[in-house]
């Protein structure tokens, strides 16, 4: 009999625990001190403390997670996303400890984890990558030659770079020399390494990804596409499936290429190939995420496949329960990520107590969350509070549904991005289904203050006045009151 340890927290831990319950598999939660009373802890059958609030000493600590698995007799470890999910060494430690890691082998994780290696591997496997120089540029002459080959515009990038630094966009040949010298100087200054390389600049790209699933019996399938172009500072905020306006021909071609990519690294489990897609629907491999994605619900909603259940089945050595021939997309799904951040102050993170929290319910809605009202959104971890997803028979109905749902989301105590989400899904471009990764930048800034609300003002004054006067205006029923008082004094709540 298997037992599953979930090496994660928050909504994804809850998601995996629910799948375990449905399969009849016992589940073990792990938690840091910051999460001792979190929802995933109480949802699981067992829970083990793995360290202090800091991730490095808890959720990111391979040895502690493995010890927890050993102590509870867990046979499977589901890493969720983030934390240890793409850590090839941890996967190897699991193997050595005789615990099954729910995910691909360390070979696939390494091949895809190192971005230049992934690019080379994909190129060799016939997967289209963004055209560019073969590794670092030796000199300006080579830069010129490569640019002639791939055509302008191009991006000059620092080989050792990251975080958007040391990058220059070059629109035409006459700009190249100055940009080349500048980029090298900048790279040297920032990263102590002047090496640069060239990639073709994709203008107004869309970010579309393909979900794949592979089992240990030689089956590899794709589960179609997800449109993830609604991003702010490279952070996805809204995803949908199918990608609006994408031709079916491109969709299937991307699916086939994704399967090819997965096979090239002997992939097993659920994974995602991310592509850049240009306005002419040419697509280029960007990277592969060798784990479950945050946005997996939209794929589940349109394909009807339970990706977590398939992951667990595959990890237990069973064949996947689907085949390419039977897979199809039905209707449309949109996911909105609700973050604890303040749109009126540049989307600053807004940790704090979630004093009001009631996500919407209704037909076709799905909420993935890991909090309850009264929880504190910790500043130690990701600022995502919940994922609100809607499914409907078609895209216009789906937009109607997600807008109605967002509008009835009750939340307070922290700042959040719901108004921003409403702004995006209500925007002309989004509704038309014609947008790229620039969509968020085209929207006007939100008003920093909510409209005046006379009733709210009256309520605030009344409550303040009543508190101040300490006058008993309405007596609660005697029995209830005595009981409530006793329970409150005992530090317990009765309702």
């Amino acid at each position: 009999m298997h037992k599953v340890l979930i090496a994660n927290r928050g909504e994804i831990a809850c998601r995996v625990i629910r799948a375990c319950k449905e399969l009849g598999l016992p589940s073990v939660a792990v938690y840091s001190d910051a999460d001792a009373q979190s929802r995933h802890v109480w949802l699981a059958d067992e829970a083990v403390r793995v360290g202090p609030a800091a991730s490095a000493e808890s959720y990111l600590s391979g040895p502690r997670i493995l010890q927890a698995a050993k102590d509870t007799g867990a046979t499977l470890i589901h890493p969720g996303y983030g934390f240890l999910s793409e850590n090839a060494s941890f996967r190897e430690q699991c193997d050595a400890a005789g615990v099954t890691f729910v995910g691909p082998g360390s070979y696939a994780m390494r091949q895809m984890g190192i971005k230049t290696l992934a690019r080379d591997t994909m190129k060799a496997a016939g997967v289209p990558v963004v055209p560019g120089s073969e590794g670092p540029l030796r000199d300006f002459a080579e830069a010129q030659r490569v640019c002639l080959e791939i055509g302008y515009p191009v991006m000059l990038k620092a080989a050792a770079g990251g975080g958007g630094r040391g990058i220059r966009l070059v629109q035409a040949e006459h700009e190249l020399e100055a940009a080349f010298d500048g980029a090298r100087r900048e790279a040297a200054a920032w990263f102590s390494d002047p090496t640069v390389y060239i990639e073709k600049a994709i203008i107004r790209p869309r970010h579309i990804e393909i979900q794949v699933l592979a089992d240990g019996h030689g089956n590899t399938v794709h589960l179609f596409d997800r449109e993830c172009s609604v991003q702010r500072r490279n952070q996805k905020i809204i995803e949908e499936s199918p990608a609006p306006g994408l031709s079916n021909q491109t969709r299937l071609a991307m699916g086939e290429v994704a399967v090819q990519a997965a096979r090239a690294v002997q992939y097993v489990g659920a994974g995602t190939i991310e592509f850049l897609v240009d306005p002419d629907e040419r697509f280029y491999f960007m990277e592969m995420n060798t784990r479950l994605q945050v946005e997996h619900p939209v794929t589940e909603l349109v394909t009807g496949v339970d990706l977590v259940v398939e992951q667990l089945r595959i990890a237990m050595g069973q064949p996947m329960s689907v085949s390419q021939a039977t897979l199809s997309q039905r209707g449309h799904a949109i996911e909105c990520r609700v973050y604890a951040e303040d749109p009126s102050r540049g989307f600053l993170p807004s940790p704090g107590p979630l004093r009001v929290y009631r996500p919407p319910i209704g037909p076709g809605l799905r909420v993935d969350d890991g909090v309850v009202e009264g929880d504190v959104v910790s500043n130690h971890y990701d600022a995502m509070i919940a994922k609100l997803s809607a499914w409907a028979p078609d895209r216009p109905a789906c937009i109607g549904r997600i807008r109605a749902a967002l509008n009835t989301f009750e939340i307070g105590g922290i700042q959040h991005n719901i108004e921003h989400l409403l702004q995006v899904v209500g925007s002309e471009r989004f509704i038309a289904g014609r947008y790229d990764t620039g969509i968020v930048g085209t929207l006007p800034p939100l008003h920093s203050e909510p409209e005046e609300d006379e009733f709210a003002e009256a309520l605030a004054v009344l409550l303040h006045d009543r508190q101040r006067r300490q006058t008993v205006l309405t007596q609660p029923a005697a029995d209830e009151s005595t009981w409530a008082r006793a329970a409150r004094q005992a530090g317990l709540r009765t309702r």
Binding site: N379, E449, D453, A458, H464
Partner: protein, 173 residues
């Protein structure tokens, strides 16, 4: 003897007086308008406020000095003070940050300090970087000035509102 309150909501200010309060019905004077509302607590804890055909649902809580009123996903934080007390103490309603204090806009860890004592800082310049929830966030000074004190060190955790850097004005403003 109804009390007159000063209600602050962001940059708005209003004078509000509770004229009558019968628990489920109340009359208020808001500026020069008279407002009569009915109130009711629903089983799920929401408070229904209505007047004629208009009706809205709220939830409320107290956060420090503020009374917070939530309606759906909108949130109003009100600061209420006794109007008479204010006149007596003469604090007025003036706010803002001409104090030269640069404070933490959220709880987090100071990952970088960009200024040292003696530096001259332009209005809106980044003086520190705070990390919270895996993200780095710039802390900017509202006004400009010369740094007279750097109160925190890199690596330490600070609460929201904590003083990070103190500036003094330069020249005549």
């Amino acid at each position: 003897m109804p009390t007159e309150y000063l209600l602050e909501h962001g940059t708005h200010h209003k004078s509000v007086t509770v004229l009558e309060d019968h628990g489920d019905r109340a009359v208020l004077q808001v500026g020069d308008r008279r407002l009569e509302v009915t109130l009711r607590t629903l089983p799920d804890g929401r408070i229904a406020v209505s007047q004629d055909d208009q009706r809205r649902l709220y939830r409320t809580f107290r956060a420090g000095e503020e009374t917070v009123v939530v309606r759906g996903w909108t949130q109003h934080a009100f600061k209420l003070t006794d109007a008479r007390e204010r006149w007596l103490h003469g604090t007025g309603g003036r706010h803002g940050d001409s104090s030269g204090r640069v404070t933490a806009s959220m709880p987090g860890r100071v990952v970088r300090l960009s200024v040292a004592v003696g530096d001259i800082v332009a209005p809106g310049a980044v003086v520190a970087v705070l990390e919270a929830m895996k993200m780095e966030n710039d802390v900017r000074s509202v006004g400009g000035g010369r740094v007279t004190a750097v109160v925190v060190q890199e690596g330490v955790a600070v609460e929201s509102g904590a003083l990070l850097v103190q500036l003094e004005p330069i020249g005549v403003e």
